[in-house]
Symmetry: C2
Subunit: 148 residues, 2 copies
């Protein structure tokens, strides 16, 4: 089992970051404009790629206001299914620190290398959103390679 880990800090309140992680309006602002509520506490994230629409469904397992958001991937690419995504929040100085984990990958496949970098750019988009009001969600996300 291998994990993707990241740490970013935003000059915004834990509540503002928590809202960006737990509301459709917030998620639309930094990850993908194609975010919607599905049934049973599942959030649907979709992306338009050259090969067609792709994406993930995340089941919200646990939320603690201002402190934690924890999802399980219930649909998406095979490598993602059953993995967990966690955002632990804490305040330090004037920053809200986001400790991010995408954990439970079975193998460190090349797609995991890609997702690690891509998560970093999306977490920077989250930081921009809560600091300035404008993030870089798909389809205007940062392109990192031929895989987008």
């Amino acid at each position: 089992m291998v994990d993707i880990l990241h740490r970013v800090g935003a000059t915004a309140s834990p509540d503002a970051v928590y809202t960006a992680l737990t509301t459709i309006d917030g998620l639309v602002g930094w990850w993908t404009e194609k975010t919607s509520d599905a049934s049973d506490d599942v959030i649907r994230f979709r992306f338009d790629l050259p090969q067609g629409e792709d994406g993930f469904d995340m089941k919200v397992l646990e939320t603690v206001p201002g402190k934690l958001v924890h999802w399980e991937v219930v649909a998406g690419p095979e490598e993602w299914i059953g993995t967990h995504v966690r955002f632990d929040l804490k305040q330090e100085d004037d920053y809200t620190i986001v400790l991010f984990r995408h954990e439970g990958w079975k193998e460190p496949v090349e797609f995991m290398y890609h997702c690690s970098t891509k998560w970093a750019t999306f977490l920077m988009s989250l930081k921009e959103l809560v600091e300035t009001g404008t993030g870089k969600p798909a389809p205007a996300d940062v392109q990192i390679s031929n895989w987008h």
Copy 2:
């Protein structure tokens, strides 16, 4: 043992990326302006931080032109010493793909979360350098948090 993994692709030749990873001029252009040759195949990277100068010494273990750069950390923060940094290069379409590993961390400490995100922003700086001629090396690097 836990690893940091990343994948970026740059529209430049493998030789151009290899040069950016193996020459002082190249390294100065994307990682830190305070890069210098030390003795015994060691490259010295330094950063000016609020708490003073900090950095890493990397011993070059292996290089294969256009394909591989492999370093061992021989001086720096305790968590980094003995870890290895690898850049595997390959060509795909019009891109040179960089598969990056910073491997051999003993524990997934918070500093590792930070370094993972920071490596992503520096690899994006490497991509910018080889694509446009200008990267974002320290001290003009992307700030990701209160830890810089």
